[in-house]
Symmetry: C2
DNA sequence: TTACGATGTATGCGGTGTTCACATTAGGCC
DNA sequence: GGCCTAATGTGAACACCGCATACATCGTAA
């Protein structure tokens, strides 16, 4: 009986599991995210979480979905509807910062194929996708929104992952931010260098 | 004694483990990549691999390093030294195709921080980094090589990951290739749309 | 009040990574 | 050739994991 002074029924074990999972993720990385550890932290038997999550993947999916929602908020906080390159760059910096501040969570979010089962997860990702689309629509009125959205998201997502994997310099947040801003700027200056070649 | 007709000593267990790990990765994904399974497949006791790899992570790092080398070959095969946007796009397509054809391997390669311990792994990644730099140098003689290399790599890497995570349409290889080409093209046409706004 | 459905527990199975003491063998040295 | 040592492989054991199954407890609604 893991519950010393508590009641038999937990009250809101579902939320408690999610919270415990997030804590474990921050403390020990994704390796420490085990159902048993979650149960221990929630002060509950090892199999209790199965009443609320079908299996480990279901819990992980829930964590990921929450991560998506927080990422969306984080981006919106950087700028609700950016329209200039500078504003767009600020959002890009926020994206990468989010990844670097919650590396394990970010990895969980993009670790495995988005199983179509978890509609919670799908909904959360399409929300982000829509946000990017709107951003591009505002910043590039004349462009192919679909194509450019993919480009922008991919660029920023790639920056986040390369930083996360230590493939780029992450010594200080400022260095990272500069790199991101420069990369986004390059989206607008690269052709100049090219035309220089062709002219 | 797992060895029925064989000798006590395996001969080249280190290489055999690597091969087995690669096979398991392709068959069952990264979930199936267990040290014990590797040992079973190599026809050896569960603890034998520890003579050649300090722990599971060491084996995984070796697999990743091999993956980096293969990726470098794959890119070079697409084009040894691209200088035009079209050639650059072809290499980008090859990068994404590599990821989609060996999803589990690609994930292992970029799953966890590149531990500075494994110099084998670091060497392999810097090789890729150098290849990208050279590519940018050739294609954009006037540009900031460092910044633009980061941009290009991030863009292509992000495309690979978003495809891998099912965030983009991956129905057919042609669709994917078109998307990648379009995204790379966007690197050159985006500012046009922008200047349209500003003019 | 009582019966039932929801929630949590206890137990057990097969799998995993890792350690440790031990067995076997290849290859250098006399 | 014969021996010794270091390298290599084995086996048993520990703690942990996900998960299934049977059982205990409790809120609640009839």
């Amino acid at each position: 009986m893991p519950q010393a002074g508590g009641t038999y029924h937990h009250g809101d074990l579902r939320a408690a599991c999610l919270r415990a999972a997030r804590e474990l993720l921050e403390e020990d990385g994704s390796a420490g995210l085990s159902l048993r550890a979650v149960a221990r932290r929630a002060g509950v038997s090892a199999t209790a979480p199965y009443r609320h999550y079908a299996d480990r993947d279901a819990l992980v999916s829930a964590v990921a979905a929450q991560g998506y929602r927080e990422l969306a908020e984080h981006l919106a906080a950087a700028h609700p509807s950016p329209t200039t390159p500078d504003e767009l760059a600020a959002v890009a910096v926020a994206y990468v910062r989010f990844a670097l501040e919650r590396p394990a969570l970010f990895r969980v979010m993009f670790a495995e194929p988005c199983d179509p089962n978890s509609e919670e997860r799908v909904a959360a990702t399409t929300a982000i996708s829509e946000y990017v689309r709107g951003m591009v629509r505002g910043a590039f009125p004349g462009a192919d929104v679909e194509a450019l959205s993919t480009t922008v998201w991919a660029l920023v997502h790639g920056l986040a992952f390369l930083h996360l994997d230590g493939k780029l310099d992450t010594s200080t947040p400022d260095v990272v931010a500069d790199q991101v801003r420069t990369a986004v700027q390059a989206l607008f200056t690269a052709p100049a260098a090219l035309s220089q070649t062709r002219a």
